[in-house]
């Protein structure tokens, strides 16, 4: 098992390293460079000044060399300076990451608490009216554009009813949890609704598959109540693939929060990424993208681990014993 984990860690580190280079190259292709931005800020710069500035910033060097310098700095804990926020990149990440994790934690918990029972409830009576309605709901959930859902929630609860704020993190001048919580309701609801459909479908499919197993027939033949068969015998096994998919999806959820955060002006990682790219804040954009890649990779490793840990028939080499 240790070997499996270390192998996966090395593999992911390689992917991350390759990705950091690719992302570095891509960001270099975005319009403008730091010196262009200085030129637009100070029209008095001569072309000699510009050439000199480019040299100072190392922008006249090939990509590989610039990347090497950046990597060296990063390995020493220096992620550079954010142009947009005029702060070291590292100081901005902390609060944004905290906000995003809080939003994701709430939405994921809600989505699981709704999606999993709903999926089980539908799978117990396949091809009934109940199953069809749940299916319809789940299909609607995966098909709805999450930003539109956010807009509709704003229209209903902020514009028409006026119950909740349309965006932000808190009322200026007001502290305390209750105020923060009010601002979390709409983003969390929007993110929950956007992901609950997927969870419902996974759970239903997995439960349907499990209920067809021989040991379920045995359990029924023993005369167990349907409730004990489903919740006592089937559920544990049906949850295995669902757990894996949830871990795999975490990366998608993390970067998908970008839309919700942008619409509700919620200062998390997603909005930070968007603002950094739009504002030509190269250092910040680079680190945001790498962090999102890291989260996806960690999710993948956790998925593999959970799979092997929950199902003893599956070894850590990924083969059935």
């Amino acid at each position: 098992m240790l070997r499996f984990i270390s192998e996966r860690l090395i593999q992911s580190a390689v992917v991350l390293a390759v990705m950091s280079f690719v992302i570095f190259g891509l960001i270099g292709l975005m319009p403008g460079d730091p010196v262009d931005l200085m030129i637009s800020a100070d029209p008095d710069l001569t072309s000699a000044d510009v050439a000199k500035l480019r040299e100072i910033y190392g922008l006249d060097r090939p990509v590989a060399e610039r990347y090497g310098n950046w990597l060296l700095a990063v390995l020493q804990g220096d992620f550079g300076f954010s142009r947009l926020f005029a702060k070291p990149v590292f100081d901005i990440l902390g609060p944004a990451l905290g906000n995003t994790l809080m939003l994701l934690g709430i939405s994921l918990t809600l989505a699981l608490c709704i999606g999993l029972p709903l999926g089980i409830w539908a799978a117990v009576r396949p091809y009934s009216v109940r199953d069809y309605s749940v299916n319809l709901f789940a299909f609607a959930g995966i098909s709805v554009p999450s930003f539109w859902l956010g807009l509709l929630l704003i229209i209903l609860f902020a514009v028409i009813l006026g119950w909740l704020p349309a965006g932000g993190l808190g009322t200026p001048g007001m502290d305390g949890w209750s105020d923060k919580l009010i601002y979390l309701v709409l983003p969390a609801a929007s993110l929950t609704l956007a992901s609950v459909g997927g969870h419902t479908r996974y759970m239903r499919a997995s439960m349907l598959e499990t209920l067809r197993q021989d040991y379920i027939r045995t359990a029924r033949a023993k005369g167990l109540s349907e409730r004990r068969v489903v919740l006592g015998h089937a559920l544990r096994n049906a949850l295995i693939p669902v757990t894996t998919i949830i871990a795999l999806d975490f990366g998608t959820l993390f970067s998908g929060a970008l839309i919700t955060e942008t619409i509700f002006a919620y200062p998390g990682m997603g909005k930070l990424t968007y603002d950094a790219v739009m504002g030509n804040d190269f250092n910040l954009a680079l680190v945001c993208l790498l962090l999102a890649t890291l989260v996806t990779l960690v999710g993948n490793i956790l998925a593999d681990l959970a799979y092997a840990w929950l199902d003893p028939r599956i070894g850590f080499e990924g083969k059935r014993q």
Binding site: M30, G32, L151, I155, N300
Partner: protein, 309 residues
């Protein structure tokens, strides 16, 4: 499937059609899609009927309520909302279908080469696929959409051409969206490679290229068709998100996504503007998902039988 076809004495295609027709939601969805596509394609005709110009700005008639002249009212510049919606549909549907097809071609090529030749090529392609899957999709798309095409060697004219945002979004979505098809195709090609009919073809001296295209590819049709249909919906969602964020289709070219950008700014004055484009996206995406689901049941009868047991 060949067994079932023999007992029912019907061609496989007839069987597939019959099974698809039984899937009521998929059938309704297919109808809805045909209507939507036809309406979008006929946008210029509707323009003629209503006697309007989709791009005509009428500042005396801003944010008008629905009327006989403007069935869905007008937007912040006095343009007809219905016409903008239809022209937006053209763009969104084109991007969805074009990007899904491009991704399917790319994925099929990678998967076929990988599964058929195996070995080092397979290892290389599959690591590449794993790498692309591990990428954070949305942030990456945002960076790709923000790239300065002039730095890639396009001329300033080409980079600023009106339709460039259209081709660019098709290209970048296809660039990250081919992995599902590649994995499916590789897995099937891997098992088909050892089947007697492929061995027979090889024994007769068929080239690798011929075996792949003539003998293996037709057997891959069903998974590719299902995966591509399902991905059209996803592509339309991605396009609308990017356009909504101002990075996809650039105004004045309307798309369902960028129509919503304006709507968000006007959400306090004209909330209705935010409803129609989103509804159009929602209906289209759910219809593609139902059709994909129906095709899956129709093309892979085992999945249905397993479910019914």
């Amino acid at each position: 499937m060949s067994d079932a076809a023999a007992t029912a004495a019907a061609t496989p295609l007839a069987l597939v059609t019959r099974r698809f027709l039984r899937h009521r939601l998929a059938l309704i969805s297919a109808g809805v899609l045909v209507v939507l596509a036809a309406a979008s394609l006929l946008a210029p005709v509707v323009e003629g009927w209503l006697g309007l110009d989709a791009n005509a700005v009428d500042l005396f008639n801003r944010l008008a309520a629905p009327s006989a002249a403007h069935p869905l009212g007008t937007d912040e510049a006095g343009r007809d909302v219905l016409l903008r919606l239809l022209y937006g549909g053209r763009v969104s549907l084109f991007v969805g279908i074009a990007a899904a097809l491009t991704a399917a071609v790319l994925g099929t090529t990678v998967g076929l080469l990988s599964g058929y030749f195996g070995g080092r090529l397979d290892a290389l392609f599959m690591r590449l696929t794993d790498g692309v899957i591990a990428l954070p999709l949305l942030p990456l798309l945002i960076v790709l959409a923000a790239i300065d095409l002039q730095k890639l060697g396009f001329s300033a004219e080409a980079a600023q051409a009106e339709n460039m945002s259209l081709y660019r979004i098709v290209a970048i979505v296809a660039l990250v969206g081919w992995t599902t098809v590649a994995r499916l195709v590789r897995a099937t090609a891997l098992s088909l490679r050892e089947r007697p009919f492929v061995l027979a073809a090889r024994a007769q001296g068929a080239s690798s290229c011929r075996i792949m295209t003539v003998h293996i590819l037709p057997n891959l049709a069903s998974p590719i068709i299902v995966a591509t249909t399902l991905s059209v919906g996803n592509v339309i969602l991605l396009e609308s998100v990017l356009s909504f964020l101002g990075l996809g289709i650039q105004p004045p070219l309307p798309s369902w996504g960028n129509l919503l950008t304006n709507a968000q700014e006007l959400i306090w004055d004209a909330p209705a503007l935010a409803v129609y484009p989103g509804l159009a996206i929602f209906v289209t995406v759910i219809a593609f998902n139902f059709v994909g689901d129906g095709l899956q049941d129709a093309l892979d009868p085992r999945s249905l039988e397993r479910g019914k047991r």
